[in-house]
Symmetry: C2
Subunit: 126 residues, 2 copies
Amino acid sequence: MTQYCVYSASCPTRLVLDHIADKWAALILRVLSEGPTRFNQLRRRIDGVSQKVLSQALKRLERDGLVSRRAFPTVPVTVEYSVTPLGQTLCAQIFALSDWAEKNVEAVLEAQARYDAAGSQLREAA
Amino acid sequence: MTQYCVYSASCPTRLVLDHIADKWAALILRVLSEGPTRFNQLRRRIDGVSQKVLSQALKRLERDGLVSRRAFPTVPVTVEYSVTPLGQTLCAQIFALSDWAEKNVEAVLEAQARYDAAGSQLREAA
DNA sequence: TTCTCCGGTTTCCTTTGGTAACTAGCTTTC
DNA sequence: GAAAGCTAGTTACCAAAGGAAACCGGAGAA
C-alpha cells in the first residue's frame, strides 16, 4: 500500500485537498445535496458566481467523481447536476466548514477589527 | 440579530468561508494543532510552501483570530505561532477535509482517469 | 418584433499565487 | 578569516487563475 500524506508536495492528496478546500465547491455541493439542480438554478442560488467559474467548478467536480452531469434532449437542452455517492461522503465534512463560517463570522470580524486597530496604532506611533 | 447566509455574495460569511476553505490554512492549522511552531519549522514541515505564501497565510490567520503570533527577543529573533481557542473550534472541521483527501485520493484519481478516457474517446470519434 | 430562457464559451482585464533573490545579524564550519 | 547557514520575513517579477461582460443558437412568450 502506498503512503499518502498531505504534507508532501508531490503527493496526489495535495491536489485533492486543493480541489475540495474551495469556496465554490463547498457552496455547489451544499446546493446539490438538496437534490438535482440545473445550471442556471445553481447560478441563481449561489449569489455572485459567474457562469465561467460555475462551469469550471462543475467540470472539476465531475472529473473528480464528486458530481454527476445528466443532459436531457429537451428543447432547449436541460442539464441536471447531482451529487455522486463519493461526493456524499465528502458533504458532511465540507458542510461543517460553511456552518462554522456562519456561526463564527462575528468572532472573526471582531478579531479583524482588533488586529486592524492595533496595526493603525503602530503606524501612528511611527 | 442579523441574518448571515453563505449564499449571499455580500454577506461577510463569504469572506470567512473564502479564508478557511484554503489548502494552506488547512495544513498550517494541522501542524499548529500539535503545538506552538516557529516559522521555519512550519516551512520545513509543509513541503512545497514558499516563504511568501506562508507569511501571507499566517498573517491572514492571525488577523482572523485563528492563530496567535509571539515573538521572543532572542538572537536571532524567534517567532512562535499557535492556535487560538477560536482556531481550535475550527480545527476539527478542517482536519476532516485533509483526512477525507487522504482516505479518498485513490477513488478520486480513478474517477479522473475514467473522465479523461471518456473525453479522449469523444475526441477520437470526431 | 423584442425579451427571456436554456447552458454554456470567449474575450479581456485584474488579482492572486508562486519562484527566486535579497535583507540583516549572529553562529557554526572549514 | 572567510564562507556558509541559521533566524523571519520582504521584494521584484512572471505565470496562472478569477471575475465581468459580451456572445452563441434556438425556442417560447409578450
